[in-house]
């Protein structure tokens, strides 16, 4: 008998069916990956297994856990199963942990509720659990509030809460989506180590994670189960068109074409940029340049200073020192002091289009608004024509003109944001994690739009991203930043074939590859990014570097050219 046996699970919200006749089984100790894009019903299925669907949802079919029917079960039956038999890790640990309660106070409720420990012993059990998920100084974390921990540490706490009652099944719903790639690798490894004989249902949009961590794979598409089987065979010979499409849309960091380096004249250069915030330096003397028609990627973990760098360049945050030269003239001061022509030539697209677009404006107004400012002489008819043409350019028909942002999907909204940025014909487009929130297939479309516009107009793109697989597919050159410093810069071909900085290598190794056979040799990065308030001495990367020696701890390496790479490391070829 399976541990979990789901038969014909159907979930409806009013007339809308979000899960449609899904069957799945999990045996004791087995690991199953549930893959799908947003709206595929994967999270809804997980909530149904715990009996946590919102009141409006109507579920039918059957969910049997160890012989116990879950659909329609009473609260007391469900409460006895939750945490004790089925543990869950949610996506965003900042939201999923109670920000008003100390971590110890949250976790101790679980053993107490399930009567696994009495009051005298429960705190010791929680501390023991915090230690086992790799939290340094667990006594102190017991007294800490969630906001005092980093994202990775919070997710460790979440994992501790899911496993503290030693469940038979662990559900992990996008457990690493909110985390940096290096931390993701640590959490996934921890998940493997910790779960022992606990069965795992791993829900994710990332085929790479499933390939690396699940024996069995299930693919959902718009609420329907379209494919399932052993992970190796699903990846080697996908039988359903949707699985093939998912695989095709998943960029790979380890293989595939890399755009060739661009030759030509420089349009924008940044020299020795420094950005200071109150008590920390976010960017320390970073220089780079962008050529006409070139895509330059800026990568690094959160806190690396990549967004601060481009924001200072655009004049959105003050630059403490350094210079920005655009097309022969110096850009100075905050953006509102810059000339109109300079402002129109540099445009920006943000990560979350829903909050970047004014919800009270229609697409027509949103995309046409920059024209009102920069080309006020344009007649309404001419402006409407330009807007329609621009929308078509990004692959949206005229029927979108009258829509409001909430009537758009994530991909459509991001295309509107791109159209708004491109309508003035800028020479440089800055994309700040512009495709990070999009599903694989939609991301592919948006990247194609950018490539097409670049091919037609010679647009230069600065592409900020934490996703190296996407970076590989679109950028000509890559800057790697760590704690505000530029640690490596090379054209994509060189960088992906022969990374020189140990940090770049670790980043590349941390990216999950959607191929269960070709899993790369793993050298996961230790620890987390140190605080920029008090950066380490010498090479700022040395505390996390496997190759560091005494010299690295005392002397900061200068940027230098090694072969075709500019790198800041004492031992670039080690």
């Amino acid at each position: 008998m399976s541990l979990l046996d789901v038969q014909g699970l159907t979930i409806r919200y009013g007339d809308e069916t979000v899960v449609d006749g899904v069957n799945l089984f999990i045996d004791r100790g087995e690991s199953v990956g549930l893959v799908g894009e947003s709206g595929s019903g994967k999270s809804q299925s997980a909530l149904a297994i715990l009996g946590l669907l919102p009141r409006q949802a109507v579920a039918s079919g059957s969910i049997e856990f160890d012989g116990q029917q879950i659909l329609g079960a009473s609260d007391s039956v469900l409460n006895a199963l939750r945490a004790r038999r089925i543990g869950i890790v949610f996506q965003d640990p900042m939201q999923a942990l109670n920000p008003y309660l100390r971590i110890g106070a949250q976790l101790r409720q679980i053993p107490l509720t399930h009567k696994l420990r009495d009051k005298a012993e429960v705190d010791a059990r929680v501390v023991e659990m915090l230690a086992s998920v790799g939290l340094p100084d667990p006594q102190r974390q017991f007294r800490a509030y969630p906001h005092e921990l980093s994202g990775g540490m919070r997710q460790r706490v979440m994992l501790a809460s899911a496993l503290i009652a030693e469940p038979d099944l662990l559900i992990a719903d996008e457990p690493t989506t909110a985390l940096d790639v290096t931390v993701q690798a640590q959490i996934l490894d921890l998940l493997e180590d910790m779960r022992d004989n606990t069965a795992l249902l791993l829900i994710t949009h990332d085929l790479g994670i499933v390939a690396g961590h699940c024996e069995h794979t299930i693919v959902l598409d718009r609420g329907r189960l379209v494919e399932q089987g052993p992970t190796t065979s699903v990846f080697a010979a996908p039988s359903h068109a949707h699985t093939r499409a998912l695989l095709a849309a998943a960029p790979r960091v380890d293989r595939g074409d890399v755009p060739e380096a661009v030759t030509g004249s420089t349009i924008l250069s940044v020299g020795d940029a420094v950005v200071d915030y109150r008590d920390l330096q976010a960017v320390s003397k970073v220089s780079f340049s962008v050529k006409i028609g070139e895509t330059v990627a800026v990568v690094g973990e959160s806190g690396s200073g990549k967004s601060s760098l481009v924001r200072a360049m655009l004049g959105l945050v003050p630059m403490a020192s350094g210079r920005v030269v655009y097309a022969g003239s110096t850009l100075e001061g905050p953006v509102e002091d810059r000339a109109q022509s300079q402002r129109r030539d540099l445009q920006l697209v943000f990560q979350d289009p829903v909050s970047a677009l004014n919800p009270q404006m229609r697409v027509q107004t949103l995309v046409g608004e920059p024209l009102l400012v920069h080309e006020p002489q344009l007649s309404a008819a001419a402006r409407a024509e330009r807007v329609a043409a621009m929308l078509e350019r990004v692959g949206l028909s005229r029927k979108f003109l009258r829509r409001f942002p909430h009537e758009l999907s994530g991909g459509q909204a991001q295309r509107v944001a791109i159209a708004r940025a491109l309508i003035l014909g800028p020479r440089v487009l800055v994309c700040d994690e512009a495709v990070a929130a999009l599903d694989g297939s939609v991301r592919k479309q948006v990247l194609n739009v950018l490539r097409d516009v670049q091919a037609d107009t010679g647009l230069s793109i600065i592409f900020i991203s934490h996703d190296l697989a996407v970076v590989r597919s679109i950028s000509h050159r890559v800057l790697v930043m760590y704690l505000g410093r530029l640690v490596e810069m090379a054209d994509s071909e060189t960088l992906f074939a022969a990374p020189k900085h140990p940090y770049t290598r670790a980043l590349l190794d941390s990216v999950p590859v959607p191929d269960p056979v070709a899993m790369p040799k793993r050298a996961p990065l230790r620890g987390e990014v140190p605080s920029p308030v008090n950066p380490p001495s010498g090479c700022v990367f040395h505390p996390r570097c496997a190759k560091a020696d005494a010299r690295c701890g005392s002397k900061a390496p200068a940027l230098r050219d090694v072969e075709r790479t500019r790198v800041a490391c004492h031992y670039p070829n080690a």
Partner: protein
């Protein structure tokens, strides 16, 4: 934290000064004076009295004289209650008002939070609608209507509770005034609690708590109550002010010898120092209680940093 508290207290000084100046101007702007009577005094006697109380001086000078006394902690003598200083009057009256206000506040919090939480947990049901209906009524009806109606039914018709103050002893005489004063606050706090509880209950960390097998009571008690109380806590400042002003009316209606009654009498009698003294006292009290609310806010939400 200490620094923050000190800065807040310093920051309240201009507010207090402004309140005192406005109150000073307003009591003096009102026609008549403290020693006017139905029977006019001889002109020379009136002049003597005015000179004795410095009422013949120009207004700015009187103000400075009052302020310098205030800085030495002296609220001055009452003009009408001869032989009493204002401080003594406040000292005898305030305990009644404090008891009335504190009991009303406690009752409002207890019933308001309970009703609001129950309504939130039963959102959309008949129970929810009944609670919200009652609270809408409670907010809409003014204190001076509630008081006579309560007196009519609970005291006169049913004779459960004493109708007035005089001739009664013990806690029972506080009941009607406290209920009268608390009713609008119960209603408002219930609505606030319901809205914020519904918001908190929809947050992800509540789903996590349910996913850990915690029952509804534990989820509310351990996880939801603290954050749901934040808007209620913010309302405590205005609520305290509302209870203080409400107590002026309620004390008058029920004949309670509290500060509110002295305030009304003082204003009617042009007892300048008494009115000003009560204004200064109440204003300081409100500033202090608001500061307390802000500090408590930080205790509930650990992400709040005082700078």
């Amino acid at each position: 934290m200490l620094r923050y508290t000190l800065l807040r207290i310093l920051g309240a000084i201009p507010t207090l000064l402004l309140v005192i100046a406005l109150a000073f101007l307003m009591v003096h702007a009102a026609p008549g004076g403290p020693f006017d009577d139905e029977r006019a005094l001889p002109a020379d006697v009136e002049a003597n009295i005015a000179a004795a109380y410095h009422l013949d001086e120009p207004l700015p000078q009187q103000f400075l004289r009052y302020m310098s006394g205030l800085l030495q902690g002296d609220l001055g003598p009452s003009y009408r209650y001869r032989d009493y200083t204002v401080a003594e009057l406040i000292g005898t009256a305030f305990p009644y008002s404090l008891k009335l206000g504190a009991l009303a506040m406690a009752l409002a919090l207890l019933l308001g939070v309970t009703a609001g939480t129950v309504a939130a947990l039963r959102q959309g049901t008949a129970l929810d609608k009944v609670v919200m209906g009652f609270s809408m009524t409670g907010i809409s009806i003014p204190v001076f209507v509630i008081a006579p109606v309560l007196v009519l039914f609970l005291a006169v018709k049913l004779q459960w509770l004493p109708a007035g103050w005089s001739g009664t002893t013990g806690m029972s005489r506080y009941l009607l005034p406290v209920i009268t004063l608390a009713l609008p606050q119960i209603a408002y706090i219930a609505r606030l609690t319901r809205a914020s509880m519904i918001d908190v209950l929809s947050r992800d960390f509540i789903r996590t708590a349910y996913a850990q097998g915690l029952g509804t009571v534990t989820v509310v008690r351990v996880h939801a109550l603290k954050p749901a109380m934040l808007p209620v806590l913010s309302y405590m400042g205005p609520a305290i002010a509302a209870i203080l002003t409400g107590s002026v009316v309620v004390e008058e209606i029920f004949g309670i010898p509290g500060l509110g009654q002295f305030f009304v009498r003082g204003a009617l009698n042009r007892d300048y120092t008494l009115v000003l003294g009560i204004v200064v006292f109440y204003a300081s009290l409100i500033v202090f209680l608001n500061l307390l609310v802000d500090i408590l806010y930080g205790a509930i939400d650990p992400r709040v940093r005082y700078q």
